[in-house]
């Protein structure tokens, strides 16, 4: 029994480690390539470990690589993304929380239909909305501005944030709300004093979710921003894509990692909250 058990554990870990390798491989290739020299890349095997390590490509990707007529690397785009992501995530999360609260705890006639209508927005292919959105932003005078981009991300983020919060709040007993109402608390006081303090797990899930979605977005970024407000995915794309000139793969890869770093860090640091939040009820129904 003991031996068999041991064998089973070994097999278990073997499978788990094997899977980890599968998940890590692309990142490994990106990381090793980013510290190789171009000569080594031209000559060698992509999967091989670097013979010598150089961080030149990283410096170039961050500060001096060309992404258009400007050659300031990704740093500028990075801060653009930060400026866009923070308000977009906060606003869409806030709206989602309030919507979820209303749709689960303050239902009214038609609220279910409203929820269904909002939810359907999760499934709309974004290519469909590019042109009408552009026209609308033009009317509002928000085309090619960070505000416009934030607005777009908020509009199309509401559906998923609302869904997350609503499903979580359905799990909060209605009696708590009743008790608070009897205690004299109104709509907002119940939300801020009773519901919101209980929402930490789902807030973490939604923040992480929205952050990755918005940070990684390329389509909206490329279409609804212009030169000085482009997000990092567009910068990365400009840096790595070229129609007719020489490719520097090490710089491309370093740039790709830089672009991905914030989301990777978020997952590494807050990943456990993500899983915990899902456990706490985000996946229901």
């Amino acid at each position: 029994m003991d031996n068999q058990n041991k064998l089973w554990r070994v097999a278990l870990y073997a499978v788990l480690v094997y899977a980890a390798v599968y998940y890590l491989l692309p990142l490994y290739i990106m990381a090793t390539t980013s510290v190789k020299s171009m000569d080594e890349i031209r000559a060698g095997n992509l999967i091989a470990l670097p013979m010598s390590i150089t961080f030149d490509a990283w410096g170039k990707a961050w500060a001096t690589a060309c992404t258009g007529v400007e050659c300031g690397g990704l740093s500028r785009y990075f801060w653009n993304s930060v400026q866009m992501v923070i308000p977009a995530v906060l606003i869409s999360t806030t709206l989602g929380a309030i919507n979820g609260y209303v749709l689960s705890k303050w239902r009214f006639r038609g609220s279910e239909l409203t929820f269904a209508l909002i939810l359907f927005g999760v499934f709309i292919p974004f290519q469909v909305v590019l042109l009408p959105m552009a026209q609308t932003l033009g009317w509002f005078g928000m085309a090619r501005s960070v505000a416009g981009l934030v607005f777009v991300h908020v509009v199309f983020g509401i559906a998923s944030t609302t869904l997350f919060f609503r499903n979580y709040y359905v799990g909060i007993p209605d009696e708590l709300i009743k008790a608070a109402r009897l205690d004299g608390a109104g709509f907002w006081r119940i939300f801020f004093k009773v519901v919101l303090p209980m929402s930490t797990p789902i807030v973490m899930v939604v923040l992480i979710w929205q952050f990755t979605q918005i940070w990684n977005d390329f389509l909206f970024g490329v279409v609804f921003s212009s030169g000085d407000s482009q997000p990092i995915t567009v910068g990365l794309n400009n840096l790595a894509n070229t129609s007719t000139s020489v490719k520097e793969y090490n710089v491309d890869m370093a740039a790709a990692i830089i672009a991905a770093l914030p989301t990777i860090i978020v997952y590494v640091l807050a990943g456990k909250y993500f899983v915990r939040g899902l456990t706490a009820g985000a996946v229901k129904g």
Partner: protein, 299 residues
């Protein structure tokens, strides 16, 4: 007066505040989702080419679309990709979740490893994937260098197989998320069920297959919906990996729509294909929403 099944509300604030608070999101959705769908629907009946115009063309764009071989390849690919991707991500995700549920050391680290692809855009990982799957650069070369010279893995460059590489990369990206969802579900299951089954003499795989997984039906369904919508909307995955190629063998409706509407100046056809996509989505989602609606009415 028919009553609704909700709390009684008193006074202006209680009666109107919830509606008022929901109103901005509702209006935004109405305009920016449904308004735009209508707009796009209208566009599909016009002669729009490079830019939108409003000259009526009847069903001409749909005729063009249905006569287009590439569109049907894209549709077929969506079915292949959709079923394999959903099935694969589900299988891998559940499998890993069950393994991680065995009180594994370093669970946190492994979990993060499995989950991180979710954090990355294919704009970022596309090139690395292309290299790995490229026969001359990646896995095939590596394994051949190890001495297995007969090893071939050329799906990326084989028109009959290229869509499957998209499946592999898609599973890589999403299975960790499935794992997290199911792990969350597994953690919510009462241990005593498993203990009871063990006392009955059931083997561990059997316990999971017969007792634990059926108990996770709700998780299963919400995961299915998430994966289905990823599959239908999958765009940068295909763009980054194969660009729809070789030829147009790995095209999917989303890439088809993008290239007809924006690159090739056939906006009307693009709009028509988008409407077809939306109808597919609706066919899947509306029943789900309906059940969701009914479910919450009882809840």
């Amino acid at each position: 007066m028919t009553s609704y099944n909700g709390p009684a509300q008193y006074g202006f604030a209680e009666r109107w505040l919830p509606r008022l608070v929901l109103a901005p999101s509702f209006l935004l959705t109405l305009v920016f989702v449904y308004g735009f769908i209508l707009w796009n629907g209208y566009l599909s009946f016009t002669t729009s080419r490079l830019l939108p115009n409003y000259e009526w063309a009847g069903l001409a764009q749909y005729t063009t679309l249905f006569a287009n071989e590439r569109w049907w390849v894209a549709v077929k690919n969506l079915f292949i990709f959709g079923s394999l991707f959903i099935g694969g991500a589900m299988a891998v995700g559940i499998f890993l979740a069950v393994l991680l549920d065995q009180k594994v050391r370093q669970e946190g680290a492994l979990r993060t490893l499995y989950l991180y692809p979710m954090a990355l855009s294919f704009i970022v990982t596309g090139t690395a994937w292309k290299w790995m799957l490229n026969p001359g650069l990646g896995l095939e070369k590596l394994v051949q260098d190890w001495g297995f010279t007969n090893f071939t893995f050329d799906w990326l460059v084989n028109p009959d197989m290229s869509i499957y590489t998209v499946v592999i990369a898609g599973i890589w990206q999403s299975s960790g998320f499935v794992m997290a969802l199911f792990l969350a579900g597994l953690r919510g299951i009462d241990d005593s069920i498993i203990k009871a089954a063990q006392i009955d003499g059931a083997s561990l795989p059997r316990i999971y297959w017969k007792i634990v997984l059926p108990a996770l039906r709700p998780v299963f369904f919400s995961t299915l919906m998430i994966l289905a919508h990823i599959a239908i909307k999958s765009f940068d995955l295909v763009m980054a990996l194969t660009g729809g190629g070789p030829g147009f063998s790995s095209d999917v409706p989303a890439t088809f729509m993008y290239s007809t509407a924006f690159t090739r100046g056939q906006m009307g056809v693009g709009a028509a294909s988008a409407m077809m996509m939306l109808m597919t989505v609706a066919a899947i989602v509306v029943p789900y929403l309906y059940s969701e609606l009914r479910g919450s009415r009882n809840g």
